[in-house]
């Protein structure tokens, strides 16, 4: 009887922990955030996975051994938006399209929410660049605030959900409807 009660209590505690921990992670302030750079950073391939952080007035993206920096002062505009992507993507997601009886279509209904961060910045010659990142929910606003605090400019201060009407370039992203 005691072991059964303990099991139930542990189960309930795990359930609530599962609900609380992602929220806590999403609200985490500084530190590197796992992102996907969809396009725009000089010398970085499209859809490159890496970490993004704001350090010493620089937007710092690390991809493997390579890294790319954008000065916060050179940033002309930052926009955040809410988005979603297929829960099962990549090769498996593509192969699932061929599953019989519409199995692949059912899988495409399962989606995870993500944030997008769009940054427009100028290089040393004055040329305008744009970079797009996708990242876990709740982290884009934190990075935006840090960048603005360190000298970046932002023309829109709308809420991410309100500003969203788009999707990302990777094949498994979709706009929030």
């Amino acid at each position: 009887m005691t072991s059964r009660t303990t099991t139930v209590l542990v189960g309930v505690a795990s359930f609530f922990a599962g609900l609380v921990i992602p929220v806590a992670n999403a609200q985490r302030a500084s530190g590197p955030v796992k992102v996907v750079q969809l396009t725009g950073l000089v010398g970085v391939k499209d859809n490159a996975k890496g970490t993004l952080s704001v350090e010493n007035g620089q937007l710092h993206f690390v991809h493997g051994k390579a890294s790319s920096d954008v000065s916060a002062a050179s940033i002309q505009d930052i926009a955040t938006a809410a988005d979603s992507q297929r829960a099962i993507g990549g090769t498996i997601g593509l192969m699932s399209m061929a599953a019989p009886y519409g199995g692949g279509r059912v899988l495409s209904l399962f989606r995870t929410k993500i944030d997008t961060l769009t940054v427009q910045y100028r290089d040393a010659d004055g040329g305008l660049h744009g970079a797009i990142f996708t990242m876990p929910v709740g982290t884009s606003e934190v990075i935006k605030k840090e960048l603005v605090a360190q000298g970046a400019h932002s023309t829109s201060d709308k809420e991410p959900a309100a500003a969203s009407a788009a999707s990302s370039s990777t094949p498994n992203k979709e706009q929030k409807q």
Partner: protein, 171 residues
């Protein structure tokens, strides 16, 4: 003997007609405009509300596709180096139509949820004289995320530029 000559003459006429037709077709092609370099202005979307990621993806894909299509000197919006270039062609792009679509709807139904974007492209000289104006659209109908429409647009716009402009030394 006469029959052989007549048949030979007919064969010669046929050959002449077939050989001449591509040459005549080439003559009807529009003459290309000299463009030592291209400068791409940031995509404008004053009338239509376009998400920032679409605006940036259109701009970045456009520059990349122009470079891929043989324009060795493509300058970005605001690049100071472009000011001193002779025969500079400036590309102004304005969004005229946008339908966000839905990747989920595309995957589930196959027939609905298409994303489409229409952009008015205006090529001008550095003094602002219009050289070419054309609407170019980008679409994603079946596979891929919504931003894939920006890639489709960029490829088509680069093709338009390639068909109407030439870089000295390239051709």
């Amino acid at each position: 003997m006469n029959r052989i000559l007549s048949a030979g003459f007919r064969l010669f006429l046929f050959t002449l007609i077939f050989a001449a037709s591509p040459l005549l077709a080439q003559k009807s092609k529009p003459t290309k405009i000299k463009a030592a370099a291209l400068q791409v202005e940031m995509i404008q979307s004053d009338e239509i509300k376009l998400p920032a990621e679409f605006q940036v993806a259109l701009y970045e894909n456009l520059i990349r596709q122009l470079e891929k299509n043989g324009f060795s000197r493509v300058y970005r919006d605001g690049d100071r180096n472009a000011a001193s270039v002779a025969d500079l062609v400036v590309l102004h792009s304005t969004v005229r139509g946008f339908k966000a679509g839905s990747e989920r709807a595309r995957q589930v139904t196959t027939v609905s949820g298409a994303t489409s974007i229409t952009v008015h492209c205006q090529f001008t000289s550095s003094d602002g004289t219009s050289l070419l104006e054309q609407d170019v659209n980008g679409k994603v109908r079946f596979f891929g995320g919504n931003l894939k429409a920006t890639y489709d647009f960029a490829k088509k716009a680069a093709r338009v530029a390639n068909e109407n402009f030439f870089t000295p030394g390239r051709e």
